[in-house]
Homo-oligomer: 138 residues x 3
């Protein structure tokens, strides 16, 4: 049986999103079953056009601003956030949107990208994470 990984996507910082998507792709490419739970700020990532609006978690990263980080990433052959998300999906990763966050902030299913696999609550996360080998929250 394939080992599992879960990531709670709590943040919508650009740098954390890169890290999480790279981790998800790495795990999926290694044959793991990956589930990403998008909650609180992280739900922004699943909104249509959301990945294009992210900011760095600090004003600048090792001296670089947001657009420079994107350029440098590209130069190192790191895919864009949109491509990383598409790749993760293609490798079988599941994207779950937090129903509670949607309710609290008045976000509907129509606001979200079609790549979302399911809407769910904390119970679904616990059921998944309790048998997973790697559980992260970012």
């Amino acid at each position: 049986m394939a080992k599992k990984m879960t990531i709670i996507m709590f943040s919508d910082d650009m740098d954390k999103t890169y890290a999480a998507l790279i981790l998800a792709n790495g795990a999926a490419a290694a044959g793991m079953e990956v589930t990403m739970f998008f909650t609180f700020w992280g739900l922004n990532l699943l909104k249509k056009g959301g990945l294009g609006k992210l900011k760095l978690s600090k004003m600048n990263m090792l001296g670089l601003g947001r657009s420079m980080v994107k350029k440098r990433m590209q130069k190192q052959n790191v895919a864009s956030l949109e491509k990383l998300l598409a790749d993760a999906k293609e490798l079988g990763a599941k994207l779950i949107a937090c129903e509670m966050t949607m309710g609290v902030f008045g976000i509907t299913k129509e606001d979200l990208i079609p790549e979302v696999d399911d809407l769910a609550g904390v119970g679904a996360y616990i059921a998944d994470a309790k048998d997973a080998s790697i559980n992260l929250i970012i």
Copy 2:
């Protein structure tokens, strides 16, 4: 034997505290043994009246301020932080205060809420986490 979950409560941001307490309640409700270790900023959550003083990790969340977040949470039947903590305790979650943090910041047992189960150090965390199914730090 019940599966275990540990959460290191490093942060005292309101949004992260909501997320952590919802996760703790979800796990405890699913029959897991939950232990929360409060350290660094997170120790503020265990101070008398501490849960009433939290701020959001960002200026605003999806456009909403702190009091609006609380109102929206309530409207969606998400319990208050105080109620979530009480519920977690009732479901058997253990609350551990980090002794080192207390020493560093001159916080005494009398400063903490009576719901605290124990004062402990990193050794107790490791002993617990090494056999747990879900380990998170927030």
Copy 3:
């Protein structure tokens, strides 16, 4: 076989670095195999002199500034960051620098402290973490 712990060092905040190094030391002292993966901001910690430049994740911590936190830590017999890192190494912890981050920000092996054990990518992390008992990202 010894149980394993991995920590992804994503942040270079002083308080988070203290917490992570204390956790790494606690796990290594308890006989666990510890691997720390330094990526994104966390790579700053491995740069020569990097540990001396860290800032708190918030303006102040429970009312204290950066130098006061260091003094209070010392008074409570918490070792300095440099000593904590050296101790972790001596207890067998492995320090891995993220190759991608190095490429993106033009950091070379010569910029890093000699204590670094290896340069690696996400594949190495997943291979390690999928069999570990404790996996954290900070």
